[in-house]
């Protein structure tokens, strides 16, 4: 540990001399006989602990501390006073940001301990500030990273998907055996991972932004979006929204989007009547959403694990991220989810999200 730098301000030179004599071996000591001189030292030396006498001719110790609260907030303050002055004490606590209050004549051991503790407080304060700055920087970088994933990383992938579309339109898709199809599968898979990764990070980071949610519009948009690649599934949508709903639109969209796309994705291949039923009931206190399908269903012993990260059943092509993100997003907005399922009968998810009105 490097030597603690202490500044002691007192108009009585005898006290300064006594302090130096008592502590010069332990600390790097700077002294001043007036607040103005003390101020000068502060401007030139990186002081960690300041001790000031309360009763000085031009300015009191507390007023001095107040005067440097903006310019030198870091050094930890100790107030010395020759008499028990309740008013000064109250003022010191309320305005001076003072760490200790010590009466004169001081006891060497008591003062020594106070300075040591004050230094520890100083170190903790600086460390906390450094950690916060570090954290803010990391957060900032993460934000930029997320943004670049959603643009720079995804843009060329989407171009590749566009090329596959052109190949299809030109009738060349089957011209090289199954290769174009394999490229398409890989591109789609990568895109899915990118989307889920983004959703996860955005859910993790963003604070809630409450706005009015129109479930009629939202559900229809999501169905349009996810049924685009699969026109076989029939949707039965029932929405009762007679009252305004306020919630985190981004997270609600993520939650419903994942559940609706799952309901479409995990159908039984041989099912002739693929069906997804969505019902939304908006109440003053909360919205209740039920999404059920007649798809492949979930094994009973898997039901508890489906919300854990990277859990995937052997039989399907999932990534183990969708439902994990659903659960994480619901946690952020105090929502609840329940699931019931029968193997090859279908799955029902029931969600409750509080109305933030």
């Amino acid at each position: 540990m490097s030597t603690i730098r202490v500044l002691y301000i007192d108009d009585e030179e005898n006290n300064l001399t006594a302090f130096k004599a008592g502590f010069r071996r332990q600390y790097e000591i700077y002294t001043a006989t007036s607040a103005a001189d003390g101020q000068k030292i502060l401007e030139n030396v990186d002081i960690q602990v300041i001790i000031a006498d309360q009763k000085m001719p031009k300015i009191t110790g507390v007023d001095f501390f107040k005067s440097i609260s903006k310019t030198h907030p870091d050094p930890v303050r100790i107030l010395l006073t020759g008499y028990t002055d309740i008013e000064a004490l109250a003022d010191a606590i309320n305005h001076g940001d003072i760490y200790r209050y010590i009466t004169k004549p001081w006891n060497d051991l008591e003062l020594h301990n106070s300075i040591k503790n004050a230094y520890d407080a100083y170190v903790a304060k600086i460390e906390l500030r450094d950690k916060i700055a570090e954290l803010e920087k990391t957060n900032d970088e993460l934000n930029r990273f997320i943004y670049s994933i959603s643009h720079e990383l995804r843009a060329p992938l989407v171009s590749a998907m566009g090329i596959v579309n052109v190949v299809k339109m030109e009738g060349l898709f089957d011209s090289c055996g199954e290769y174009w199809g394999l490229i398409e599968t890989c591109a789609n898979k990568l895109d899915y991972y990118i989307q889920k990764t983004l959703q996860y990070y955005k859910n993790h980071k963003t604070t809630s932004d409450i706005s009015s949610v129109d479930f009629n519009k939202l559900i229809q948009e999501l169905i349009d979006l996810y049924s685009y690649t699969d026109k076989d599934t029939h949707f039965h949508v029932e929405i009762r929204q007679n009252t305004e709903f306020y919630g985190d639109a981004f997270r609600i969209e993520v939650i419903l989007g994942n559940l609706i796309s799952n309901a479409i994705k995990y159908q039984k291949e041989d099912e002739t009547n693929k069906k997804v039923v969505i019902s939304v009931d908006v109440q003053r206190e909360a919205v209740e959403i039920v999404i059920s399908d007649n798809g492949m269903g979930i094994l009973n012993e898997h039901l508890e694990k489906i919300f854990t990260q990277f859990f995937k059943a052997k039989t399907n092509q999932g990534t183990g991220l969708g439902l994990f993100i659903v659960k994480e997003a619901l946690n952020k907005i105090n929502g609840k989810i329940a699931v019931s399922s029968g193997l090859s009968e279908g799955t029902t998810f029931k969600i409750t999200i509080p109305n933030g009105r």
């Binding site: 943004y147 959603s150 643009h151 995804r154 843009a155 060329p156 989407v158 171009s159 998907m161 566009g162 090329i163 596959v164 579309n165 052109v166 339109m169 030109e170 990118i194 989307q195 983004l198 955005k202 685009y228 981004f250």
Partner: protein, 135 residues
């Protein structure tokens, strides 16, 4: 359908995407002519030059968001200063690969954007949109 909407303008800095989207539009015969612009600036110059010439003006603009120098939103800021006649003739849709929630909301909130289309462009999706506005 052809004849009613003749010209489309593509604004995108990405050459590969310009090529792909031109191809998709050509094959699907949704427009008769494609005006290709590699920047918002180039597009504005074109629109300025031909603003009184209905024959030259595009009926539809597909605008990318992420572009160097002038991005899609900045383009729209300038675009809104064109006379109403031009804005009514040249409908704008955004075509972007963005997944950024902020970008999406901003695009939807812009009064001059009729729709946010996501890359890759699907001809059917474009056709449905055109059907809505050019019937």
């Amino acid at each position: 359908m052809a004849g009613k909407h003749k010209k489309v303008m593509l604004i995108d800095d990405n050459e590969v995407d310009l090529k792909i989207n031109s191809k998709i539009i050509t094959i699907s015969k949704l427009f008769e002519e494609i005006i290709v612009c590699q920047s918002g600036d180039e597009a504005l110059t074109y629109l300025n030059k031909h603003q009184d010439d209905d024959e030259r003006l595009p009926d539809f603009i597909l605008l990318d968001i992420q572009m160097p120098e002038m991005d899609g939103f900045e383009f729209l800021e300038v675009f809104k200063r064109f006379p109403d006649r031009l804005k009514e003739k040249c409908l704008v849709a955004i075509l972007s690969s963005t997944l950024d929630f902020g970008d999406i909301k901003k695009a939807e909130a812009n009064p001059y954007v009729i729709k946010l289309l996501k890359k890759p462009l699907f001809p059917k999706e474009l056709e449905q949109l055109l059907g809505k506005y050019f019937s």
